[in-house]
């Protein structure tokens, strides 16, 4: 029966070479005996015992699993891995996807144990600092359950590249001198100096951050099993913390019962000095508006903006996600499209008064997004209160209504956008021009339709501009 002797416990190169030779030589798993050289040798790896010719490629997923499993302390791991290699080599495709296959399952369990141990090493290594002729050296003692030190050392290099450190373990020690990683044989606990001064600080921190009213010992030990405690400076505090938890909590509860009630102060929200213009005052008051339920889930009231004597007022539907976050109308994707169209229609946004029919964003939450929901008639009606104040003060010559909601809010009736768009509609004061909402253009999936609709949108905006130019000449409409 062929025997393979690997140079050391994580001799991946040796294993790989041997597995290749065995598989090419047609030697099945149950006729190979795997072992590790009695005298652990970090460097030499024995020549493969059998050789063969031909292509030998392992699936990448299998290589990565095997590199993990080989670190397990289970002496059967080499045979197990060769069993998997053999099956892959025999053409068992998607081998690792057969998660419930007993062999694959065993390998996954070993890999999981190695990963957990690796993680615990990253968590529970504690360095002490010793001064070595003026230079600080960091030394730690750790007892891993698996052969993880070699593969895990690079993590400590990435984290502590600027320090000089050694991690000693019973089977292997890793050393970093600031430039090079080196491994030496195992060491013993006595080789590590005592805790330094900061260990005491760490114990104090650990004790203070513990909340005695929430004692959950099982939750602690499942993540920080007792076997690690002897090498953790903070663990020395645990028994006393547990012993006194109940009495500390009780003492706090007693105090609670004894102390006197405190009069609850109302939040003093100093009213900001009232702005002197009515429009500015409406804007300030709208911040607290509760006229309909839409304020509740939203971030803030998004009031109109622009010169109070603008010749054109632009009314949209309601703020969107971005507008709700920024507190300003038309700053999201629809706002960007609107800006572009305004420019092309020869309109200067800064000269317009831009607002919405409804001042709060109405939405339905969907995970990390909010989906726009159309406001209902009741909400549009409630919010007309603010729109009317804006319209009364700005008294624009032309009001551009973007979409059906804006049309409904301004005209006081339901409108058919496609039917009434682009033509001057007489309003109580000035003219109105109805067109689509820019978000409608964004929702069109088809490029061609979008280009066509964009042209129509431009045409409507241009009509509004012409109307405004005519209206602001001395003769007024109506």
């Amino acid at each position: 029966m062929p025997g393979v002797v690997l140079a050391h416990e994580v001799d991946w190169e040796g294993f790989r070479a041997a597995a290749r030779a065995l598989a090419l030589g047609g030697i099945p798993p149950d006729s190979v005996v795997w072992s590790v050289r009695a005298i652990d040798d970090l460097f030499g790896s024995e020549a493969p015992p059998v050789s063969g010719e031909g292509a030998f490629r392992l699936p990448r997923a299998l290589v990565s699993l095997a590199e993990t499993v080989i670190q397990a302390s289970d002496p059967q791991r080499f045979a197990l891995l060769y069993g998997l290699v053999w099956r892959a080599f025999q053409g068992d495709r998607h081998l690792l996807e057969q998660i419930t296959d007993p062999l694959v399952d065993r390998a996954n369990r070993l890999a999981q144990a190695v990963r957990r141990d690796t993680h615990k090493m990253r968590a529970f290594v504690r360095f002490r600092v010793v001064n070595d002729g003026g230079e600080a050296r960091h030394i730690a003692w750790f007892e891993p359950s698996h052969f993880i030190v070699e593969a895990n050392a690079s993590f400590f290099v990435r984290r502590f590249a600027g320090m000089t450190w050694s991690i000693l373990t019973p089977y292997r020690s890793a050393h970093w001198d600031g430039a090079e990683l080196a491994f030496t044989p195992g060491a013993s606990r006595g080789d590590v100096p005592d805790d330094d001064r900061l260990a005491e600080y760490w114990r104090v921190y650990f004790s203070a951050i513990f909340n005695p009213a929430r004692l959950k010992i099982g939750a602690m030990t499942s993540e920080m099993p007792r076997k690690y405690w002897k090498n953790l400076p903070e663990a020395a505090a645990i028994p006393e913390l547990i012993a006194k938890a109940a009495s500390r909590t009780e003492a706090m509860e007693q105090q609670t019962a004894l102390s006197a009630p405190r009069p609850v102060l109302r939040r003093a929200r100093a009213p900001a000095a009232l702005p002197n213009s009515d429009l500015a005052r409406a804007r300030a008051e709208a911040v607290q508006c509760r006229r309909c339920p839409l304020w509740g889930p939203a971030t803030q009231t998004v009031f109109g903006e622009g010169p109070a004597d603008a010749a054109i007022m632009l009314v949209g539907e309601q703020p969107g996600d971005h507008e709700d976050l920024a507190g300003r109308a038309f700053v999201g994707p629809a706002g960007q499209l609107l800006d572009r169209a305004l420019k092309e229609a020869g309109l200067d946004r800064a000269a317009l008064y831009v607002t919405n029919a409804v001042k709060h964003f109405k939405f339905a939450p969907r995970g990390k997004r909010r989906i726009h929901v159309r406001p209902e008639t009741g909400e549009i009606e409630a919010c007309r209160f603010w729109l009317e104040i804006e319209r009364a003060h700005v008294a624009p010559a032309v009001t551009i209504m973007l979409g059906a909601t804006a049309g409904q809010a301004v005209l006081g009736r339901t409108v058919a956008v496609q039917k009434d768009r682009g033509v001057p509609l007489p309003l109580a004061s000035g003219w109105g021009v109805l067109t689509v909402h820019p978000a409608f253009l964004l929702r069109l999936p088809d490029q061609e339709a979008r280009a066509r609709e964009y042209e129509l949108f431009l045409r409507d905006l241009t009509a509004a501009r012409t109307l405004a130019e005519a209206a602001t000449r001395p003769i007024s409409p109506s």
Binding site: T100, V129, L198, W202, Y205, A257, V264, R267, L325, F363
Partner: protein
């Protein structure tokens, strides 16, 4: 005051904040200088006997505070002993613990002293010094103060991995009664600004801004808010401000508390159920109304919310594990996101039987009443009887 005493006071003052995560930031190492690294998932370096992970050095810069939040040990009217670190002291403690591999980084917050801007400036200075004077590449989480100067927020976002603002209670009425200086709309406006900046920061070439996003915390059981209100608030906050996490913290007694507060701790089990529900909302495709539609505005304590849903929707079961789509499998009690993923891979290669489910590390007593496999079909048992027959977690201490 000795540094050791300050540490004891200012860690004690910070322990009511449940946040501990040190994950989800960009990858960094110290190979080209400085100290520290971050690699995707954070590391819990220790666990306190309360079962909470200790990943960051979680401290307050000072526990003096102008505000008077009733539930808080640091409130103005509390007679707790006060202390204040210098920025330098926090920097040294952070680096000292970091070099010894005790922590992933720093979570710094502070009571509000003088003005919100002054306080924020002190907090930002610690982060600046760590990053710029010491090349610190570890994790930094800063508690931010609502409505602090935007320039300070920009600096905070540049140095920190995560920023947070705690809402503490789900409604303004709750805050009015317990934290009279706190203003929910102001907190939400700050979260909105953070979201916009965090999203800008993700664009190519944009200045760095809190790559690990923002989070918040709600205290459970201090006021009368129901689980429905709390989960409603969470759903709103996740969708509105893209929060990475909402932490729930069962109210626990503090020394010298006001008698307006409940005398005893809120059950930790309630906190646990809220976390489970939060998970169902975020990763299992449940809508908030599905979890809290019962007659009761609170989640059941005696069973997890997914089992409660399944027992109320028996017509949706049993589910055939060999054919059901992912969304359906995620609704089976006892199946997690990971095990469903593994199950979907495994069933490509064989018709799954009960022992396959066991190898997928599923608990058969929990799962089998709800699933059909190649060799198993559950007998119908009415929900009340099934409820008593199922294994359940009634206590967190088991």
């Amino acid at each position: 005051m000795e540094l050791l005493d300050k540490l004891a006071i200012l860690a004690d003052a910070a322990k009511y904040d449940a946040s501990c995560a040190s994950s989800a930031t960009d990858r960094r190492d110290s190979l080209k200088g400085g100290i520290g690294s971050t690699e995707g998932s954070g590391i819990c370096h220790a666990y306190a006997p309360d079962g909470r992970c200790i990943s960051l050095l979680k401290i307050l810069l000072t526990n003096a505070c102008m505000y008077d939040c009733l539930y808080c040990i640091n409130r103005r009217s509390s007679n707790v002993q006060r202390a204040r670190f210098t920025a330098q002291e926090v920097v040294e403690l952070t680096l000292g613990f970091y070099r010894r591999n005790c922590i992933e980084g720093l979570f710094l917050s502070s009571g509000i002293i003088r003005t919100p801007d002054y306080t924020m400036e002190q907090v930002v200075e610690v982060a600046r010094s760590l990053r710029e004077d010491h090349g610190f590449r570890g994790y930094i989480h800063l508690k931010t103060i609502p409505d602090a100067d935007p320039a300070l927020m920009a600096l905070a976002g540049r140095y920190a991995d995560r920023l947070s603002i705690n809402v503490e209670l789900p409604s303004q009425e709750g805050l009015d009664a317990f934290a009279p200086e706190k203003d929910l709309p102001g907190i939400r406006r700050s979260m909105a600004r953070l979201r916009l900046r965090i999203e800008e920061g993700r664009e190519k070439g944009a200045p760095r801004f809190a790559p690990a996003g923002q989070s918040t915390q709600m205290i459970v059981g201090a006021d009368a808010s129901t689980d429905r209100q709390i989960l409603g608030a969470s759903t709103n906050l996740y969708s509105s401000y893209g929060l990475k996490r909402v932490y729930y913290s069962a109210f626990s007694p503090i020394p010298h508390a006001s008698s307006a507060l409940p005398p005893r701790a809120a059950p930790l089990l309630r906190e646990h159920r809220l976390y489970q529900a939060d998970w169902l909302l975020r990763f299992y495709g449940f809508a908030e109304e599905e979890i809290t539609t019962g007659d009761d505005d609170n989640l059941a304590l005696d069973m997890d919310p997914k089992l409660a849903w399944a027992l109320a929707h028996r017509a949706a079961f049993p589910v055939d594990v060999n054919t059901a789509p992912r969304e359906t499998l995620l609704r089976v009690p006892g199946m997690g996101v990971k095990s469903v993923g593994r199950l979907l891979v495994a069933r490509r290669h064989r018709r799954l039987r009960l022992d396959d489910l066991a190898r997928l590390r599923l608990s058969l007593p929990k799962v089998s009443p709800f699933v059909v496999t190649a060799d198993h079909r559950p007998r119908f048992v009415d929900s009340p009887r099934l409820a008593t027959a199922l294994p359940r977690q009634l206590s967190l201490f088991a």
